[in-house]
């Protein structure tokens, strides 16, 4: 099944991704970001906050926004 995954970190990522039925948000995140933790992101599914054990559904829209985004001085 497919979900739309959108990552707001760095240059970003936005595309449809194939996943296995029964994949949770936490499992999906770990598969994409082996060296990072879901707790470092604001994760939304269909624009709603969800827990890591939420089971993704076909057509879900998952966004991940880093908690730490560094600004600068112009």
């Amino acid at each position: 099944m497919k979900i739309f995954y959108l990552n707001n970190a760095g240059c970003g990522f936005a595309d449809n991704v194939e996943i296995q039925p029964g994949t949770t948000v936490g499992e999906f995140f770990k598969s994409r970001h082996k060296n990072d933790e879901p707790s470092n992101y604001l994760i939304r599914v269909n624009r709603q906050p969800v827990s890591a054990d939420y089971i993704l559904q076909d057509g879900d829209r998952l966004t991940a926004t880093p908690l730490k985004i560094e600004g600068a001085a112009a």
Binding site: L6, G10, A14, P66, L67, E70, G71, A73
Partner: protein
């Protein structure tokens, strides 16, 4: 915000995105220009850096190096964004109208206050209180001026206004380490923000902006948190606002006005501890302009070059006397 406003906002955003898409080639040309325009500044900084290194000024070198690194970071971020868009030949697809509507509806899930001004076509959210390393900056209103979206410039479309300002001691315009004159310098957030707005993801746009406010970047703030309430004079310990400090070119520390002077030889700003009195002309000069005369006195560069020291007066007199023809054997001075 009622449904009528939501649809009105979505309409404006959708048409702005269409206008923006039509201008994408022009924008890419503008991005090239913008990218290349950073190069003279980087070149200038690199020359200052090399000069500071050549003159063996570690304090000055460190200061310039910090600025240079920030320029490099901005350039790298902008060039990465440009490369990503160019190599993919991607023309970002505007979001469907209903997606924009959903984003606007869900703003209220993330922010307690969401407002729309029809007069200015501005949608705003209010963040929760922002606190960084124990300093409370209060709530901020993030304004998105919808009719400027097509310009594809964050400084034109976004304002960040402190609702209960706690500005830096040195500058009332700096209300947050990364906000000056109600404009946020978005740093690492620039690319995600632009991508969000270009694809009509208003919800992501505001969430990213809020996270920038919630993050402190110690390597590149307008004012560091350490100096938010002022800078301590290295000599006397008095707290001074950052704009009122003086940087000693010799020791690389910051001082208040009372603890600072200048070298009367090279005219550099130096602290009182780094100046020495020339034993010849009594001027106050820095350590780099003081020399050791042959007689052992500490004298300034100018006095040494011009042979102003007393010891040279005696030598000069002896030389002057020696120029008169000596009395030869068998001859005597005959006075008139």
């Amino acid at each position: 915000m009622n449904d009528k406003d939501i649809f009105r906002i979505a309409n404006i955003i959708h048409s702005q995105m269409e206008a923006s898409s039509r201008n994408v080639l022009l924008t890419r040309c503008s991005n090239v220009g913008s990218l290349v325009s950073q190069m003279p500044q980087m070149l200038h900084k690199s020359k200052l850096l090399m000069e500071a290194g050549r003159r063996n000024k570690p304090g000055l070198f460190r200061k310039i190096n910090r600025d240079f690194i920030e320029l490099l970071k901005e350039f790298t971020s902008a060039s990465s964004y440009y490369e990503t868009n160019s190599s993919q030949h991607r023309q970002l697809k505007p979001a469907a109208f209903r997606e924009i509507v959903e984003d606007i509806r869900h703003l209220a899930d993330e922010f307690d206050t969401v407002e729309y001004s029809r007069n200015t076509a501005t949608i705003s959210v209010i963040t929760g209180p922002i606190e960084l390393e124990g300093i409370n900056f209060g709530e901020f209103r993030i304004n998105l001026m919808l009719e400027n979206i097509h310009e594809r410039r964050l400084d034109k479309m976004m304002e960040v206004v402190a609702l209960t300002p706690h500005p830096a001691a040195c500058s009332s315009e700096v209300t947050h380490p990364h906000v000056q004159n109600d404009r946020m310098c978005t740093g690492d957030g620039t690319v995600p923000l632009m991508q969000a707005i270009e694809t009509g993801r208003i919800l992501d746009f505001f969430m990213i902006a809020a996270q920038i406010l919630n993050t402190y970047n110690p390597s590149s703030p307008y004012v560091t948190l350490d100096n938010w309430y002022g800078i301590e004079c290295y000599n006397c310990g008095d707290m001074v606002s950052e704009g009122s400090t003086y940087y000693c070119e010799c020791c690389g520390n910051d001082f208040c006005e009372d603890c600072t002077g200048y070298c009367e030889c090279c005219e550099q700003t130096v602290c009182n501890n780094c100046t020495v009195t020339c034993e010849c002309c009594d001027r106050r000069v820095c350590r780099e302009c003081i020399r050791q005369c042959d007689c052992g006195k500490s004298i300034c560069d100018e006095c040494l070059t011009n042979r102003e020291c007393e010891c040279h007066e005696n030598e000069d007199q002896e030389e002057a006397d020696a120029e008169v023809q000596p009395v030869c054997v068998g001859e005597a001075h005959v006075h008139a």
